[in-house]
């Protein structure tokens, strides 16, 4: 579908914006400026941005409905896929850098340590969403089923927040900020869903 040039420029700009944290990480990595424990720095950074990406993607619909700015909807899939990209890199750096493909130990960590369990579950639930993000898949599944499948993100985001809360040693102020924003974003949806069913 042809889009006007101004909208295309906006899309390119949005992609660049989403890639900015990654570029910053790469630049710092190349400058050998990731601190004494660069592996931990990379994993934390990518995890932070995966969670931020989820928050931003989940903010699209409430923002669109509150502001009536319908063009926002065009960016929802893109933002979701960028969130997935950061989550996938977060996971890859855990598996490849932190654990160095020690699958045995990764298995033990998933079973024994609940913050890993939560994070791994969140990532696995994201996979079908990323896989069915194309227009072709959307058509094949049909709008209704596709939408129901993608409601999985309502489980993924809280799991990601819990993953963060459980990881932190004692001071959970920062993870709670994310959890609170997610709660508000999900509460909007719950409220609208209830109103819909009340009307129907």
């Amino acid at each position: 579908m042809a889009r006007p040039a101004s909208s295309r420029r906006l899309r390119v700009g949005a992609h660049l914006l989403c890639a900015l944290p990654l570029a910053w990480l790469a630049a710092r990595g190349l400058a050998d400026d990731l601190g004494a424990n660069p592996i931990e720095a990379v994993i934390r950074f990518l995890g932070d941005w995966a969670l931020r990406g989820l928050v931003v993607a989940l903010a699209v619909t409430p923002l669109r409905r509150l502001t009536g700015w319908s063009r926002l909807a065009q960016y929802r899939r893109m933002l979701g896929l960028w969130a997935f990209t950061y989550a996938a890199l977060h996971m890859a750096s855990y598996v490849g850098l932190d654990q160095f493909f020690d699958w045995n130990n990764i298995g033990i960590e998933i079973l024994k340590h609940k913050f890993i369990t939560a994070g791994m579950t969140a990532f696995v639930l994201l996979l079908p969403l990323a896989a069915t993000s194309t227009a072709g898949m959307m058509r094949r599944l049909g709008g209704q089923r596709w939408r129901r499948l993608h409601q999985l993100v309502y489980a993924v985001a809280p799991l990601a927040a819990v993953h963060y809360i459980w990881m932190v040693k004692a001071d959970i102020r920062q993870p709670l900020v994310y959890a609170f924003i997610l709660l508000v974003l999900l509460a909007f949806r719950a409220f609208w869903a209830m109103r819909r069913s009340a009307i129907a």
Partner: protein, 312 residues
């Protein structure tokens, strides 16, 4: 970060194994590099300290670079991020005058003045492993005095079953003591008296031949190399001989995660991660964690008959 202005210092330049024998020259070079990088005067308070003897307690393992040791710190009084203490502690922590009050179950309670302690002691350099409960580790060339030697002067009585340590409490010098109210400040730690009197327990006054930088717990901190790093309480102002096991900060906050003993033990996992392996700062692959951090031959006897999975 302060040292970043000085791109010529690379970890590999700071501590190549072969050069470590020529410590004096390197230290002199580093001192000037530190000053050139614009660290406040506190960081290099009195210039190099005199070293009376040197003990190599980490085999042939290479000491971690000065930059990593001084820029990757858990010192929550200055923030939760590991680079924050290096940024704010040197400018905020007032290192002199500094005294440590020694009290409790002992015949001669009194005060330790840091400068007098440094002057009166034959300082020992100890290169030993440092294993953080967060599963990373370093090799650190501390400088200081055996804890037992300091404690003995106060003549602990038979009722002194434990030793309690306390960090400075001053929110103007330690800003997070004001803003992070979930922590029961001041930081506190404790040892059983036989642990405290063990020759491996150490009071560090210096690092790499210089007085301790603020972010590493200046001017005086505890080093208990067979225990997780958080037992090594920083910037000590109080030592008390007590009859009952004293409360300690991390243990009070999360008793299921941080035991009173907190001996390095690869077979007892932290509830949230495995302790079987550790990442040595500067290395890529994790290395296996050693029981008692490799000091079992010396300290295992302290715990004979104890169930270390229960008394972790």
């Amino acid at each position: 970060m302060l040292l970043r202005q000085s791109p010529d210092i690379r970890p590999s330049e700071i501590t190549p194994q072969s050069d470590y024998l020529n410590r004096r020259q390197i230290l002199a070079g580093m001192a000037s590099a530190l000053l050139a990088a614009g660290l406040p005067a506190e960081a290099a308070l009195a210039g190099p300290l005199a070293v009376a003897r040197s003990s190599q307690l980490a085999g042939d393992e290479k000491p971690t670079s000065l930059k990593d040791i001084t820029h990757y710190n858990n010192f929550y009084e200055y923030g939760l991020d590991k680079d924050q203490p290096a940024q704010s502690a040197p400018g905020l922590l007032k290192l002199r005058p500094w005294t440590v009050k020694v009290s409790g179950e002992c015949a001669r309670p009194g005060i330790i003045d840091i400068d007098e302690l440094i002057k009166a002691s034959a300082l020992e350099e100890r290169v030993c492993r440092h294993r953080c409960v967060e599963a990373w580790s370093m090799v650190i060339p501390w400088l200081g005095v055996p804890l037992a030697q300091v404690l003995a002067r106060f003549e602990p009585s038979s009722k002194a079953k434990f030793v309690a340590f306390e960090t400075l409490l001053d929110p103007r010098q330690m800003p997070e003591q004001r803003s992070s109210l979930i922590y029961p400040w001041p930081y506190s730690e404790g040892l059983r008296i036989d642990e405290a009197m063990h020759p491996l327990a150490f009071l560090a006054l210096g690092l790499y031949g210089e007085p301790l930088p603020a972010q590493n717990g200046a001017p005086i901190r505890l080093v208990v190399p067979w225990k997780y790093g958080f037992k090594g309480i920083k910037s000590i102002v109080g030592i008390r001989f007590v009859e009952k096991q004293p409360p300690t900060l991390w243990n009070a906050l999360a008793p299921n995660e941080y035991g009173f003993y907190s001996n390095v033990n690869p077979t007892v996992d932290h509830p949230r991660w495995s302790q079987a392996k550790e990442r040595r700062i500067g290395e890529f692959l994790r290395r296996p964690t050693l029981m008692f951090n490799g000091y079992g031959d010396q300290v295992a006897g302290l715990y004979s008959g104890m169930d270390l999975a229960r008394d972790f």
